[in-house]
Each structure stands twice: as structure tokens, then as C-alpha cells.
Subunit: 426 residues, 2 copies
Amino acid sequence: MAIGIGVLGSGIVGGALLRRLIEDRQALGARTGLDLEVRKVAIRSPKKVRSFPIPGHLVTTDATEVVSDPGVQLVVEVMGGLEPAGELVRTALRSGKAVVTANKELMAARGSELLDEAAKAGVSLLFEASVGGGIPIIRPLTETLAGEPLTRVMGIVNGTTNYLLTRMEDGAAFDEALAEAQARGYAEADPTADVSGADAVAKAAILASLAFGTVVDPAHVYREGIEHIQSVDVGYASNLGYVLKLLAIADKAPEGITVRVHPTLVPSAHPLAAVRGVANAVFVQGPEVGELLFSGPGAGGGPTATAVLGDVIDAARELLAGPRVTPRVRFGPGRVRPFEESTTKWYIRLRVIDAPGVLAAIAGAFGEAGVSIKSVWQEGRQDEATLLMITHDAVEANLRAAVSSMSDLDVVSEVAATIRVQSDEP
Amino acid sequence: MAIGIGVLGSGIVGGALLRRLIEDRQALGARTGLDLEVRKVAIRSPKKVRSFPIPGHLVTTDATEVVSDPGVQLVVEVMGGLEPAGELVRTALRSGKAVVTANKELMAARGSELLDEAAKAGVSLLFEASVGGGIPIIRPLTETLAGEPLTRVMGIVNGTTNYLLTRMEDGAAFDEALAEAQARGYAEADPTADVSGADAVAKAAILASLAFGTVVDPAHVYREGIEHIQSVDVGYASNLGYVLKLLAIADKAPEGITVRVHPTLVPSAHPLAAVRGVANAVFVQGPEVGELLFSGPGAGGGPTATAVLGDVIDAARELLAGPRVTPRVRFGPGRVRPFEESTTKWYIRLRVIDAPGVLAAIAGAFGEAGVSIKSVWQEGRQDEATLLMITHDAVEANLRAAVSSMSDLDVVSEVAATIRVQSDEP
């Protein structure tokens, strides 16, 4: 018996998925025992030239036709954005259709509500492709690690920014790296969602929610992008044995959950330091399982379509098995801590007057704020010197206070850069 | 409604699992919505002192009591070995009980038959912990990547041998490294199953079967252990830019599937080269998804129990949802090629007489066998020299012929080592 599939959206991921569902239908059937038949595809622009031409009789420009088609039992949402995607997914679930989505923004903002709808209807809502592209991470977190009280999930979840930072590590300036990424199709014409960290925030919220079993609102995720990163700091960091990465970090401590996205200096021996270019990687930690690393292609039509297709196969099996009573994902209460309460280390670059007593004045300001300095390097140049410092672990709020009082010192011309540092110890 | 759990075996993994099932019952219930109740535990030696003392009323020394107990709906098999484990698992499945096993030997030898039994009974047979300890790999292969026509799975799947090779890389001799591993509990008193590659063969057979959807008999997996590896070759390899690893490699080409376990020189920039000590890692490749890497703790009570517990939660959810009709794993036909047909590269160390014309004679013997040499290094010492060679890709049978004819040359005192080399290109 064929399972009728409806697809919402036919961009890069949708196109790659349709090609495989249609061209490989026989081979997929032989491998999985399932006959997956595409019955309707909603597209925005019928005249757009596509890498995979969709058979005309499947096409509609009215997305509601897909979710209301009685021949469609499984809806794949690869259009992206909050609306109309959210309403379409909800309608599909309420009509008893299984849904597979690659939509990080939707799952971060409304995942819990939509999973409830799916549970009520007894159908699957799967979203492996919403984080990490082709890397299996959602299923390991929700199934294999379902019995582990995880304490940390930390990863490189945005390929665009990782490409930019890798090029800057190799010596390029930010603007140069960005132009290159745009030319290669790794960055959008408007790169804001990537470089500002907004894309990573949605993924961080999803990972944290699943890992800790508590809904984390993306609005409660601390966000800092890489727009202000200067090549000079990437170079200094490299000399000090660090690599700069934009990390999504979710921690769980007895005091609560902290979720944040910010540029982070990672020790060069850390496995995440070796993840270069558009690749993604996610680190997972728990008291029993220790450390796990998942890495691979975090975006792109082929890899993302593989993750979507895996979900489609899974959801189709579930449909054939009949309605489920126990959802795989459950959320309970939990406190999300303000980022200011959490403990970090900072790399600080100051431009200072090269005179006796400068270091003492600066060290004094740090001491007053309760921050102790781990190491200091000074590089002189005529009357002015550059001072690089790495602090010990300190409370984020205290670090901010220390840096703020630093700006008021006469001997400090400029606080030129502050970047958080990942501890060697987890 | 509580799900009754029976456990077969209470060694390191069983003990870690029982501790969590019993001590964390409330917390697990809150996180998963499932009430998992241990109702019977089969142990071999009632008097053995255990890290987690099992409540007396649960214990039996008769394993058949566990699989026939009507209060047990889910059986966890962590006793290991082919029998009686196989018969007990079959009995449990035939009585409609779900089964979770960590038994690589059993799943490699009889997995297909037991999965059929499970499908007939409409219950789950899950085995995430059979390969890679705490690393989620079975579920990604069978679910997330179900739609990907994978071409290669390659990994470090035995922590004991990886520890030994890491220590040898650091300069230790084989016997020294082994004694150290035994003292630390990383190697058994009789380390044969690990160092001979037999443990890795079972895991390679499971990974290949799942990745390619064809049952691979462990008897058809080429096996070579690390017993004969000498520290001197680990050192030479390091100078040439390679790290020695015991790899399980499964390839799929149009001509068929090749599965093998042997010591392998890996370029030092390859991600597997960085996997040190008892850690495991699995590389997965496909035309659409590209390259994925999964790494983490490949053994140990805590990590392995986490994988078992994830399966227990999954199987319990399935039990509550009622009997399934579509199994997640399906096998079809496929040809397993003899290893001799496959293409590899070799590192060869020869002891030769240091005289003019030696290299010409050796190069001639290689040429006749259809093997071309990529690079040669010579290290002289009085009348005798050491010759290190790395070949280009060649058919395994031809390489063997070349090396065999080499031994007959007067100028060659000894073929001192032959080790396969992983290509830089996948």
C-alpha cells in the first residue's frame, strides 16, 4: 500500500528530496519495504527553473491543498519560516497526517505545542533536519540518550559562520571572507540571520529543550554574533593556542539551564577546533555516557534531504503501525538561568598607554570586580601597547563590570575586544 | 502502568543498568513518562560481590525463569556469548516479549533470524549497545540514514586495541602496553578476542549488514589482528605521516560488498587518527549525505548501560503502542566479495642487502605482479639496509603475490612487515 506524500516548498532541500522520492522510488521501496508516493507539491513560483523539474500534475501554488488532500497521509514541510508553515503543520497534524519538518525556526518557537498536537492525533512529528543538516542528532538525543541525565550540549551549528571564521583563521578579513562565502553559495545575499547568531539560537533552543526535557524559549537564549570579530584577534588567539568558533552552548546545572550562542575561543586540541569550513559538529556530555561527538555536513540539499528522508521513512512506518500512544519527546518544568549568572572566561584585548603602573591599575580594576587574571601578554609599540589577557572562570556579570570599569581608566585607550573562552575542562 | 523488565546477566554493563533502573526509577519516570520496573534478574554466581547489590527477591540463577515470567514484558540480555543467550532471546521474542541486547556476537551471527522472530511477534529487538558502546550508531544507520545508499562505514570499534596502539605510538612495546592495559582493566587476562580482531569482526558484520541492507556473515569478514605489530613500524609510520589503527572497514561497490578488519595506516590528518586511547569512532559515507563521524566511549559500564537504557525506553514505548507491523531493519540480497579482489595500498618493510641493483630487483618483482610503488625510503646500516615502501592502490591478491615473490629474492633478507594503508581519498 502506497503512502501518499505531500511536500510544502521546493527550494534546495525540497528539490533534492523530490528528486530522490520520485527517481529512487523503486530502490527506496526495495530497501525499506515502503512505497512512498509523492501526490502533491506546493511551490511558490511555478515559473522558476529548478534543478529537479517537478511533474506538472503534482504541482499547486495553494499550500492548503496539500494539507487538506485526503490522498496525502504524510506532509513534508521544507518551506521554512514561522508562518504560514506553522499553521499548515498544525492543520496537517489535526487532520491526522504525519509531519516531517526541517524548520528550525518553527520547532524552536512552537515545537512543544506542535508535538502536543501530534501526540493528540497519534501521529509523528519528526524534525531531524532542523538541526545539523545531515548529522543525526535529534534521534540520538531523544531516543538513544533518553535515559541519560545530560549536562551539556555544545556545537558548531551554523556552517556559514564556521566557514567565515575558518577563512579568517587562514588570514582573510571578515568582509573578504563574507564575499567569498556569498560567491560560493555558503552565505545569503543578506547574511544577517547567520552572522548575527539568530540561526544558531533557534538550533540551540531545540537542542537544549530535547537534551534537558525543558522547553527553552529562543528569546531566553543569549546571543552574540560574529559581526564585530576582527582578524587580528583570530590571529592573536591562534598564537595563544586557541581557535575561534561560533558555538551554541547549553548547560544544565543544579541552579538551572543556561543556553547561549557566542563567539568562543576553543583550545586548539579540542575536537571542535578541528571542525573547519561549512562542517557542523555537536558535542554531547553526560555523567554516565561521558563525551560524544557527532560531526558532518550541517547544510546543503543532499545531506539535509537525507535527514528528511530518514524521518519520512520512520513516519511512514509509524503510520502503517497505527496511531501511537506514547510520544518520544516529553517536556517537564525547569529553570532557564539568566546568562549573567553563569560562569565563563574572557579573552580581553586592551589598547593601553605604555607607562609604568599600567598593569597594576588594570589588575586592580579586575580584582575589585572579583575577576582574577590567568595570563597577560603585552606587545609594545611606541607610546601605546596592546595588552592581551585571559581571565580565570568568573561570573559573567562580574566580567562585564570589570571591563566596564576598565574603560574608565585613564591608562586604557580602548577595550578593543572581548571574546569568551571555552575552559579546557568541560 | 509499569513495564516489567527482566535482566539476563549482571556483569559490568548489567550492574550499571540495574543501578540506574532501580535507583533512578522515579527520575526516569519523570523524564520519559514510563514506569520501568525490574522484576527478575538472572545471575551466574549469587555469592559474587557486586558494585551494585541486587535486591535478593529479584535474583534467580535460572535464566529461563526470566524469559518465561509472565510479569516480564521486556527482556534485557547482557550476558554475552552465543549460547545460552541466543536461545533465551528467541524464547523471549516468541513469547511476545520485547528484547534489548548488547550482544555483538549474537547479533552478528544470528541477527537476521532473530529480527525475523521479533517482526513475527510484533515486538522490538533493539541492539544499540552491540557496537560502539555508548555511541549512537545503530539507530542513525537504521533510521536517520534509512534513505541513503551508503557506500562506506569505517571505524575504530575496539577500545582495547586502540589503547594498545596509542601506547605504542607513544613509544611503548606491545607487551608493555598490554600489561598496562590489563592493569587498568582495559584488556582481559586473555586478550585474544580483542587483539586478534575477532571482537571487531562481529561489530563490522553488524555495521555492514545494517548499512548495506544485506546480511554479512562474520565468517566472510577478512580478519587480521595486531599481535604481530612491532613498535618500530608504528614509529616509521609516524615519520611518514601516518597513525596505525585497527579499523573495521565495510565498502559497497557495484561489484559487491567488502568487509574487513585489519591494522591500517591512517594519514595523520584523518579524523580517525585523532581518536586515541579506549575511545571508539565510526565514519559513515554516502553519495548524498557526504561524511559523518560519530565518536565517544566504545565500552565501559556507564556508557554501554546508557545505550541499553535508551533501547529499553524505546522498546517500552513500542510495547505501550501495541504490536508493530513494519520492522525498522530489512535485509535484501547482495554479494559479499572475497577480500582478495579488493583494492588496497600497502606499507612494506624489507631487510635487504645494501648493494647496487637491489632496488631495481625489488621494483621489478613489484612490476611483474602489477603493483606500482608510490614512495621508497632506505635506511642503511653496514651491509644491511631497511627499505620502506608504500605502494599505489593495487588488487590485494597482486600485492600478496608481489610480497611472496619478494621473499624469494636473494637480495631480500626478510619481509619484516606489511601493513595496509588507508587512501587519502575515501
